[in-house]
Symmetry: C2
Subunit: 285 residues, 2 copies
């Protein structure tokens, strides 16, 4: 199967990401249906031309006509959905997802899935501090990375289709990682940073700090505004990798603490020079 | 003394901040001289109309004609400068500064200063990741806080003059804090955030992470690009307050770590909700 405009696409879960996929795909001329739990999300998406058809029910006909199904659900809801409704998929259809953790999801889904249907995992590394289809916007993809996460069970054709989806949605870069590489990377770059932001925001309850704050503190805590339902699940679904990265950070933070305590100016400057040098690699180009 | 355009202003130290003060004051029609260590900084400032006169020498005449002297030096250089050259000040002149720590500077300067000269401390909470007069820009003040830090030795007139300086430079908000309030606040909002950014950047030496990074990691490490000479001095000059804030952060980070380790989803969500609620206070208005 190629990602051509006559294929039928079904999005399951019209939140921020599902809605942004819908917008981007409709703009590119695809036919897009959606199943989501809230009526108001369906109404919003229909009214704004983001989908051709939407429902809050599990409608077997809608599922059965889809060539490509994109799951934009919380991890455990996604796994449950497959267990309950996979009998409705069209033979030969391809499933993909947007889930931010992979190890706790991909193997479960692939292991239980019918032989004539293929699930290829993907992670669009884009988001916002606000949730819901009303905030969806496919422009969030344009400066972002899209990561395809294949396993031994995936075919080259499905991997290729999944990459094309990222291209069509306009991601800046498309990459491939293994499940464990993905989960380690995400534990460090995304989950650890959220843990730091939350801790920084929670650790001081002095009043009036906002009157004096500068951009540094604002930058470090932007992501402290967080969807607690989703992120607590993401943290716990990737617990081993996340705790490992938290340990790594703690030990470096303790090293800096000791250098300050011991007036080790040279040691402090060495760390600052290393951080300055490394940060150069992360500039947007 | 009022901050009127016929007063003579001398800036000592033409770096990023000294240069930005010069630019802002010249725009407002003041006469501005500068003493700084490098000839190229003087040349740059003269060529770009940021000062009326500049020198790399300690010229007694230039110091003696200033009504207001603004010190934009590293803390220990500022203290040394006063010790060495205070005999040249005009009687009745006012000194102020831009130093990012106060406890280790203000009392030293005030205790050694001539009786007929007054030092009123200030901290413009603005900066950039790049140093030097070439990068100076008074626009960095327009969204920033300006903090006046008086002690018992200061007169209402000098405090008022210092506030006027912040107003003329276009700071968004002008506030007053005591020396210890200032140093605690800065330890938390600024120094701790820099310690976190440095540690985050130094703690993982895996290659290729920049290929996958999203905005969260970029935001948390923007300030990991740091002037090691200046910031190591700022950290060590405010050591007790900084270590205290680092302890506070560590204990909250450990609390989150334990909740993740123990699958305490409710506890994690409680922290996330607290951080989300508090972060709302810090939005730019």
């Amino acid at each position: 199967m190629k990602l051509i405009k006559k294929i039928d696409i079904l999005i399951v879960g019209l939140g921020l990401l599902g809605g942004s996929y819908a917008k981007g795909l409709k703009k590119m001329g695809f036919s897009v249906s959606a199943i989501t739990k809230s009526r108001s999300s369906v109404d919003y998406a229909l009214k704004n031309g983001m989908i051709d058809y939407g429902t809050t029910e599990i409608e077997p006909d809608i599922i059965a006509k889809a060539d490509l199904v994109i799951f934009a659900l919380y991890p455990h809801i996604f796994v449950d959905w497959i267990a309950k409704y996979q009998q409705y998929f069209k033979s030969g259809c391809i499933l993909t997802d947007v889930t931010g953790v992979k190890g706790s999801v991909v193997y479960k889904v692939q292991d239980m899935l019918r032989e004539d249907v293929e699930f290829i995992a993907a992670h669009p590394m884009a988001g916002k501090e606000v949730a819901g289809v009303q905030n969806s916007d496919d422009a969030i993809f344009h400066a972002a990375n899209y990561i395809v996460v294949p396993t031994e069970k995936n075919t080259p054709e499905a991997i290729e289709l999944c990459r094309s989806l990222g291209e069509i949605l306009g991601f800046k870069q498309i990459a491939e990682l293994s499940v464990s590489e993905h989960d380690e990377m995400i534990a460090f770059l995304s989950q650890l940073t959220h843990c730091i932001a939350i801790s920084l925001m929670c650790c001081n309850n002095s009043e009036g700090l906002e009157k004096y704050t500068g951009d540094s503190f604002r930058d470090l805590t932007r992501i402290a505004r967080i969807n607690d339902e989703m992120w607590s699940e993401l943290f716990l679904s990737n617990k081993a990798a996340l705790l490992n990265e938290m340990d790594r950070f703690k030990s470096t933070f303790d090293e800096l603490y000791d250098k300050i305590k011991n007036d080790d100016r040279k040691g402090i400057r060495d760390m600052m020079r290393l951080s300055t040098e490394r940060r150069g690699l992360f500039d947007k180009v």
